[in-house]
Amino acid sequence: MQLIDKYDVIVVGGGHAGTEAALAAARMGCTTLLLTHSFDTLGQMSCNPSIGGIGKGHLVKEIDALGGAMALAADEAGIQFRILNSRKGPAVRATRAQADRVLYRGAIRGRLENQPGLRMFQQAVDDLLIEDGRVAGVVTQIGLKFSARAVVLTTGTFLAGLIHVGLKHHQGGRAGDPPALTLAQRLRELKLPVGRLKTGTPPRIDGRSIDFTGMTEQPGDAPVPVFSFLGRREQHPQQLPCWITHTNARTHDIIRAALDRSPLYTGVIEGVGPRYCPSIEDKVMRFAHKASHQIFLEPEGLTVNEFYPNGISTSLPYDAQHELVRSIRGLERAHITRPGYAIEYDYFDPRGLKRSLETRAIPGLFFAGQINGTTGYEEAAAQGLLAGVNAALLVREREPWCPGRNEAYLGVLVDDLVTRGVSEPYRMFTSRAEYRLSLREDNADLRLTERGRELGVVDDARWAAFARKREAIEREQARLRNTWINPRLLPGDSVSGAPDQAQSREYSLVELLRRPDINYARLTALPGAGPGVEDAQVAEQVEIQAKYQGYIERQREEIARYGHSENLKLPEDIDYGSLRGLSVEARQKLALHRPETLGQASRISGVTPAAISVLLVHLKRRTNAARGEGRAATRGARRAIGKTA
């Protein structure tokens, strides 16, 4: 066996996590190798053909703000774009795109091919090289060795993957792909805390066999939204609608009759599936009172006939799938092109990770994506990008980086994973973010692009566009703050709703903009208030920041209040067993999860505010011990301890 090559960073896996990881590490100047078992499935969307959605769209914009590929690829491959929650406030608005699978793979592949510093090699990986407890490289299926200072594993559902259709099951990483069995075995030998999760996918249907006449058409939004901050509408290919139909009583009867052959209901599947993405058999059983469930028929692409029936993921036997599909309105003559299935796979307890996504057990080894217990392309891609960045930082011997919960959904995602672990495949929702009003799609670039530039993942073109936009926002905000008008000089009802008395004084434009009945367009149309800015992104930002100002300030205060202890580092060598004043539960949890900061510790269940106080005192004692206690001791001794609140 020979050592083929040396790299800074090796990424194993070519899905959404792997490709972002490899691109990010290479953008930061690391010689990077991406290893995948098949080039043909680089950037493959294994499940539904869509990118984004509530919470997920937020992640995609953050990936984009950090120079990642996902949003740009979605702009090149998107065949239907919508802004969800468009009638609700900006914080919960989210972009979602149906994507042509072929175009999407092409868009990702193109970026990989053109990324300087990145090489690709088609080989499955069977083993890790470990030297002195650190990762040193990987060994491929045919015994080739590649060395690297950091390795990012993005194994998706491939680790010991087991596919179920009815009571039959076989080993597989995804329909049509082999599982990673040897690697799974090796990782289990490394004594990492392993678990099993489950996910599923529906049967696919030939569009030529679908009768759309009785279905509801769901077109994309007009004007067509754009995903990337750098995206343009002209990049979009031809647009297609989705269609909505429903299950009915007969569908549910068919499902109930087949439950004795369901791997879920007969106990064959051990892995835990997601609560928010249940199989159709789960929905029918758990919500027995519901007479019907909604199904979205989503086109898989411009050059294929296949449709993805979103809402009927199932692992029932094929004959039951066939029957249940044909019981649905419009699908009476449907031809199934691929059976639906459930898949079980290994994941590793993410509480064994640092916030950099580096494993605690094996320095230099990073995990990203489903291997950490998450689900979703967006969650995977965001972790991939972060793991790639941190792998590169490790190689460069720089401090690791991870945004805070108050800075990004990516920060919420990672903090949830490493402090709370998962009990089901983890998906992002906006309700997970306590600073939801600050973490919006529209300001992802303002939150992250500057940091991305410092890290080296944001290129010159993106940086220049961002700097222009930010400056334009600041300039317009200053103009609105410093322009005053008297509402009485305004025509009729242009500032209706203001009490008479209040109208007797002058208002700055920004004060007027804060009123519920005034938007930016209306404001800048007032005499003396225009002209406004042309750039829609700038105008939107100015308006949103004015509208949310009170709440944002409140959240900022909240953040500042906790900021100090939130980021206080807990040394890696604390002996929690020896700390006085900690409850047994707190002691065990802290020893097990070894939080990196005090803020993280406070979010571990069972760690009380009192335990946090004890930790604070301990930290201080260590600092004092390090520089000598004497001085403080003599001065403090005169003070009575009893003088407390």
């Binding site: 997970r432 004043g581 403090g636 001794a637």
Partner: protein, 447 residues
């Protein structure tokens, strides 16, 4: 947590005392100081000054001590307000500090800050841990007690209602594409108003518990020389205030704590509420108004022979709306009238003689009624701490703000989250994952 915020607490033992101290610690206290002390305060110098409320009325007059960082007990800016002892004034001072941006300190928090800022040594730090431990054990025990019985049921109902509403709101925000029929059908406004009613209910119960712990605050008001001091002496059973025939003798709000059938009552005898040019007397009058703001009940004392006078009506009009009121017709011995308790829609009237003691039981009964004491099952009552009441009040504020945000669902959701955070300090944490669990239990979600 620690560090950047301002904390305040009454630092002297609860109960009667010659002086009482409110201590405040935090970064940059200058603004707070100028909001409460009506005089320039020099570092480390005792300054005699008025302590004022948000309207500029005087709460108390006492000594202010200011220790700028780092030369202070905690190493931060520290302010000590030495006022007259007694719970009402001290609570008023504390409340004022909270208005000015402080929050009530946790047990041991001043000492913890002192340690973190190198003000005390290792041995003392060990005691801090013990102290925190003790405080926690005690708090845990108290919380256990608190959360048993009727109160826990009520707070449980309140939380159920809140979680139900949040479930609807968050599901609507996170799953707009789902056909979650219940979200559309749900009666958001109705749920919100039921929630508000429940919270008001819980708050009143916990105030009742707090009544038992902290006592009711009774203000004795009335024209000079109608016998307020005599009445106070009668209730207290000892000579407290100076009783003379000269109108305006009582220049100060005198506090006396008595037990009325087991409920502590802090009775504040007021200076005569009449126009005066004497600065000392005017100070007393201002303090009376401040005390009235905090009271649970106001007892208006009237000379039965004269009936209520125009000045009495004047006072009644100036009382805070909704404050329970009790009218006491004194000196019935001069009228040879029998003692009596009359319940009216504007509050009860008690006929008594402070001189002979006839009718004093009627007064006790009427006082307990006026503050809503339900008597009897004191054990089922929530022994609410000031902290709990504070949390419930904060929850109420956010619920109130939620009412104004029904047009913006995400802002409405933000206020409900703040309500839950506030309640979380009583009930324990409720994580986003718990909320998602409720959503998935209730709605069939997932494409």
């Amino acid at each position: 947590m620690t560090g950047s915020d301002i904390i305040a607490a009454v630092s002297t033992a609860p109960g009667r005392g010659g002086i009482g101290v409110v201590r405040v610690s935090g970064p940059r206290l200058k603004a707070l100081i100028s909001g409460i002390v009506r005089k320039r305060v020099s570092p480390r110098r005792a300054t005699l000054a008025d302590f004022i409320d948000s309207h500029g009325s005087v709460i108390d007059r006492g000594i202010a001590l200011y220790f700028p960082a780092p030369r202070s007990y905690t190493g931060e800016d520290v302010l000590e307000l030495h006022g007259h002892g007694g719970p009402v004034v001290l609570q008023l001072l504390l409340k004022r500090c909270v208005e000015l941006g402080a929050r009530p300190a946790q047990p041991g928090e001043f000492t913890r800050r002192a340690y973190l800022n190198d003000k005390i040594d290792l041995a003392q730090a060990e005691s801090v841990v013990d102290l925190i431990e003790a405080a926690t054990t005690e708090a845990a025990r108290s919380a256990m007690r608190s959360l048993q019985g009727a109160f826990s049921q009520r707070i449980g109902e309140l939380l159920d209602g809140l979680v139900e509403l949040r479930t609807l709101v968050e599901a609507a925000l996170d799953f707009p594409d789902e056909d979650v029929e219940l979200i559309r059908q749900s009666d958001g406004a109705g749920r919100l108003s039921r929630l508000k009613a429940k919270l008001a209910d819980v708050l009143s119960v916990s105030q009742q518990g707090s009544l038992l712990r902290e006592g009711m605050r009774v203000v004795l008001a009335g024209q000079p020389n109608v016998g307020k001091s005599s009445l106070l002496n009668l209730l207290a059973g000892e000579e407290l205030a100076i009783v003379t025939d000269i109108a305006g003798t009582t220049r100060d709000a005198i506090r006396q704590s008595v037990s009325i059938r087991g409920v502590p009552a802090h009775i504040i005898d007021t200076a005569g509420l009449r126009p005066s040019s004497d600065p000392v007397e005017r100070l007393g009058i201002a303090r009376t108004w401040a005390a009235i703001e905090q009271a649970n009940v106001v007892v208006l004392l009237v000379d039965a022979a004269q009936g209520d006078v125009a000045a009495d009506q004047d006072i009644l009009r100036r009382l805070p709306a909704g404050l329970p009121r009790l009218t006491v017709m004194n000196k019935i011995d001069l009228l040879a009238r029998a003692p009596a308790l009359e319940r009216g829609k504007d509050g009860s009237t008690v006929w008594l003689s402070a001189k002979t003691g006839a009718g004093v039981e009627f007064l006790r009964e009427a006082l307990l009624e006026a503050v809503g004491w339900q008597g009897g099952g004191a054990e089922g009552l929530f022994m609410a701490r000031e902290r709990h009441v504070h949390a419930l009040e904060l929850a109420q504020q956010h619920l109130e703000q939620a009412t104004r945000q029904t047009e913006s669902l995400e802002l409405f959701a933000e206020e409900l989250r703040a309500v839950q955070t506030a309640l979380g300090s009583i009930t324990g944490e409720f994580t986003p994952d718990d909320l998602l669990g409720e959503i998935f239990k209730r709605f069939c979600i997932g494409k």
